[in-house]
Symmetry: C2
Subunit: 113 residues, 2 copies
DNA sequence: CCTGACTATTTTGTATTGCAAAGTACCTTG
DNA sequence: CAAGGTACTTTGCAATACAAAATAGTCAGG
């Protein structure tokens, strides 16, 4: 299980990433995240996050009926959202490199082998 | 600059990692983090975090005088701290893999090439 | 018809954690 | 004695993942 604190900041970027592929809705995003290897991200996380993204203008939303259940709220990236996604990927790469540097210094000590 | 939210959870693990190499003190940890590629992590982050680690029994601490300034508080990993570090590395790998999966699906679409 | 299971969203409140800001204090150098 | 670098502490704040409960639609089985 990925600890909740470690998801902070990255989860938002990941959802932007999912939305960059195709417009979709909260319940579906939840199962996609599970498929990518994040555990089960609970509703209490997904939906407030999506509302926040909408409020900040990073996504736009529209309710549409479903054939087999209650209405769905479909989200899609705005230009601001795409820019934010780019920024996220850059920031994540930076973090990833820093942590990689540190962790590789622990086991290896030697930089070759 | 790595956004503050994205550091949550990982920073603690990284400091445990630094302490696993050798016992050291806050001010020095700060400069090591900078060297690894985290930006400048401010004092208001480092010191409270170290106090928290101590309170939780993951590190032990001892004041020792310095030849060229005020006394230093040296920290070293406890067995519980080492265990926590192992746990962190595992969790980080899990997160890293999940985000990698997701992000690689964005540009590539194809899983080979 | 009704109960349960699955789909789907919203809202309220809580805990964790990085950070800003201010203060204390030691040492060296001009 | 003032200034700057070293070194630690404390208080309070902001952001965000999550738990929990409520609402509501569809469908299958009894």
């Amino acid at each position: 299980m990925i600890p909740t604190q470690m998801l902070k900041g990255t989860l938002e970027g990941c959802i932007l990433g999912i939305l960059s592929q195709k417009e979709t809705y909260g319940y579906e995003i939840s199962s996609q995240l599970a498929a990518y290897g994040f555990g089960t991200i609970p509703e209490g996380t997904i939906y407030p996050l999506l509302l926040r993204l909408e409020k900040n203008g990073l996504v736009s939303a529209a309710y549409r009926p479903s054939e087999l259940g209650p209405r769905r709220k479909y989200y899609s990236l705005t230009p601001a959202g795409e820019a934010e996604l780019q920024q996220f990927m850059q920031n994540y790469a930076e973090l990833s490199r820093a942590v990689g540097n540190l962790l590789s210094a622990l086991k290896g000590d030697t930089d070759h082998e």
